[in-house]
Symmetry: C2
């Protein structure tokens, strides 16, 4: 049975998306003519023949491990470094197992050849990459309904923009985690859609993530609550695993509670999951990825199941990206959704981006095929997760031995996944009114800039800076283990972080900021 | 002196674009701190370090001529063919001048290396590719004002969507050529913007292209004319060179007349020019590109100057693409505009596509650099134009010797540029009422499908199917010389075109469609 997703979900999407059309000057919808010539000659479409493309072949040289080329093997795990100035870069081509060769015409059906990858192509992505992406979701996060499908996008930034266009109605409202990745909020606000913060449990001992009681109460008592003048929300935007910025991961049981609320109050769930594949074993336990016989099956067991796996109605829109596990410059990601919602995003794509870069798709797909499809991809993913685990371990070891930690000036929220670790700055005893946090933390910001460590302040990544819970809990720093060049730099960065924090507390405790604190 | 483009042009753009904002959680606008550490360690942004990217090096093998790999040299100019089934494709790497090598770190500043190309990057494109694109415009089509700038986009499809978003106001109207590339119209109509057709002179002996008297009259008498209930248009969308579908090229003197009207009636000019670099020497004259000492300077002289070259006010938005001269799968193009309009498109990009594929930019840029920058690019472009000229010559030779042509059943409009050639189906004497053209031509369509030739019907590429001039002049077929694999296929396609057309006229003249023709 096919559910009538249109009847069910069209009331939850924007009129703009609902009505959007694309009329082509080709007769895509024409009935096939039984007498049509089997091999028509193309004098119609303005697609340059592939003979006009100057590229004859592409040869890509891969590493087997992240940071391998940075003398990884010489210096041991977690101590990579390299000379940025050298002209000489390892490359072993032809016959070596790490070379991926692509020619003008395909060597097999799983490859994307130059004559296709460099040509105009499908707006929902190459069939090969769609097939792989759907297989990945089916293997790891099989939806609880049958006719889900994927569409390849120009990365999750593009996905977010298209999903915001889909769900954000003029005059409507959507729910977002109180601390969040704010570009989505920008899109909503540009559509004149209200962004309603949802309380997060971060460090008070409650189950981490969205507070389900708060959310239920908010929606049940909407008409008498703080947002009674706004329409009831039609969607929730959530980053459920290794959340940005908090690093929190919602447990499956919490997801079930939130999903039940989505059913009860009839809203869509937009699940943005760039970080969920970077599972971090609990600090102090072995780095499981180091085991020489670590398998994709074991990796799968580590992952927290997506909202898709409990989605019986087709109300989850899941966003995946190839940026974090492969490379952001590809600008490739995908959306998993029911056929009706996918179709609306497809129409938007026909009119706007047309299709993701074929060159990016060719490169990514052919490398994945060389790696051996889903299992090969998971093997690479687990190698990436291994290195994030190295870095997380170094980070926590360093910070737990730092002066500010030992003196109780900072609290770390250990993440179960992803690349972000938040550090609370414990100024509660010195600064009684949370409304004063921001101006005091501005002093700390200056310290970090001058000590030479770049961090993001939690109070910049908020849905609503006037939300009481946000004001009370916004005194944290978002750090990341993703960007530094090597572990030495990570350690040096944390030393600078500590020295700056120490200096800040010396001045705070010394009364130097007293005039900033209203009494 | 810097013109105040915002004051001048903000009334001509949409409220949506005018008001759009992007707030980042980084302090991009923070004042620089003079005591800031000179080498901050990045624990802030969630950008994976390049050591996580699996790609170590990329090696691209180029051909020196379009179709070179298709036994071009063996079979002689214009008779390319190849075996699509062969696994063996020429590739000569390392040391050969046609190989382009890219490593994780750059070999020089003009290259985009993997550590940048695979990373998150600038929303307006890599500086290297912006520099090249601006240099190309400055060399070939220098604007008549000083502070023009370029922004790299995800191809002209993306540019058109962003420009439609920029200029299309809810309840507004824009001017488009009566026969046109209709995806732009779709976007306008989705914004609830009226699309007003502008009369084209195609084959009546008048100067080809937009009819300036018609346009002036339309706008001067707007309040009493056929569109008096709509707002006066704020922009004109035009494809001035090798127009799609008509193949027409506006002369510089015509462009000056149109530009004067833009100044008089205060509208923006959106110049979409994917085809202008494919200049076709007049049929019967030598293929100038064959000369062994053909120079970029000579090539430059062949080009019809862009509207930019007469744009003293900054009201032209020019769209360029890398699809037609390099490859569509790159999804790369660029927009040239004044700083105010460029900024609005940039904000849209920050929220949506973020940035074009870094992989595409890396590949394109590094190949262009290997070719030697602007002059190298122009040399390649002229080689592409040479092959389009071969194909155009074959097309016209074949069609002028066909039965339908000899019998006066078809008329060819010879193009001066681009990839499209339109063929009028001369049914005027048999079908007196142009309103009957469409149903009669549906019969011809079936003929082409069954004879095995794919073409596009002019009456599908219209701004307004009820526009009287469109109804009267819509009896043409748009053909293209771009897509066929080789000249043999082109010749075979035209033979099929002729036989189908002959059969159609036999049946039309034999009275078989009489019942379709209202008397």
């Amino acid at each position: 049975m096919t559910t009538d997703y249109e009847t069910q979900f069209s009331p939850l999407i924007s009129a703009r998306s609902r009505k959007r059309f694309f009329k082509t000057f080709y007769d895509f919808d024409a009935k096939p003519d039984p007498l049509a010539h089997p091999n028509p000659i193309p004098l119609g479409g303005g697609t340059p023949n592939e003979g006009f493309f100057p590229v004859e072949s592409i040869h890509v040289n891969l590493v087997d491990q992240p940071f391998q080329h940075f003398d990884y093997e010489v210096k041991g795990p977690g101590t990579n470094s390299f000379d940025k100035n050298t002209d000489e870069q390892v490359h072993k081509l032809n016959g070596d197992h790490t070379a991926v060769n692509t020619y003008r015409y395909p060597l097999n059906d799983d490859q994307i050849s130059i004559h296709k990858g460099f040509q105009y192509s499908n707006s929902d992505g190459f069939p090969q990459l769609q097939k792989f992406s759907k297989e990945l979701i089916t293997t790891l996060h099989k939806p609880a309904y049958d006719d889900y499908d994927v569409i390849i996008t120009n990365g999750s930034g593009d996905s977010l923009f298209k999903v915001a266009d889909l769900v954000c109605e003029d005059g409507g409202s959507i729910l977002v985690e109180e601390f969040t990745f704010t570009p989505f909020n920008n899109s909503a606000e540009n559509h004149n859609t209200a962004v309603i913060p949802v309380k997060l449990n971060i460090k008070d001992g409650s189950e981490p993530g969205i507070d389900p009681e708060y959310l239920d109460d908010l929606l049940t008592n909407w008409s008498t609550g703080p947002y009674k003048d706004k329409k009831k929300p039609t969607a929730l935007y959530t980053i459920p695993t290794g959340q940005n910025p908090t690093g929190l991961t919602q447990s499956l049981s919490l997801r079930k509670k939130i999903y039940a609320l989505a059913e009860k109050h009839n809203f869509l769930i937009i699940e943005d999951d760039p970080y969920g594949y970077i599972v971090l074993p609990k600090y102090g336990t072995p780095n499981v990825y180091e085991s020489p016989d670590f398998t994709p099956a074991e990796y799968k067991k580590l992952l927290t199941p997506s909202y898709l796996t409990i989605d019986t109605s087709g109300r989850v829109i899941r966003l995946d990206t190839y940026s974090k596990l492969f490379a952001p410059g590809l600008r490739l990601g995908f959306i998993t959704a029911n056929p009706y919602l996918r179709r609306r995003i497809f129409i938007h794509t026909l009119l706007s981006t047309r299709h993701p870069s074929g060159v990016s798709q060719l490169l990514l797909n052919n490398i994945i095929q060389q790696w051996g499809g889903v299992d090969g991809w998971l093997t690479w993913s687990s190698k990436v997760a291994k290195h994030y685990t190295y870095r997380r371990d170094i980070f926590l070891k360093e910070i737990y031995s730092s002066q500010p930690y030992k003196q109780g000036q900072i609290t770390v929220v250990e993440p179960d996944a992803g690349m972000f670790i938040i550090v609370y700055i414990n100024i509660e005893s010195q600064v009684q009114d949370p409304h004063d946090y921001e101006k005091i933390l501005a002093k700390l910001k200056t310290k970090y800039i001058r000590h030479g460590v770049d961090v993001v302040f939690g109070n910049k990544m908020v849905a609503d800076p006037t939300f009481e819970n946000t004001i009370k809990n916004g005194n944290f720093i978002r750090t990341t283990i993703a960007a530094v060049s090597d572990n030495d730099a990570l350690i040096e960065g944390l030393k600078r972080f500590s020295s700056a924090t120490t200096e800040f507390f010396e001045e705070l405790n010394g009364g130097q900021y007293d005039e900033l604190i209203s009494k």
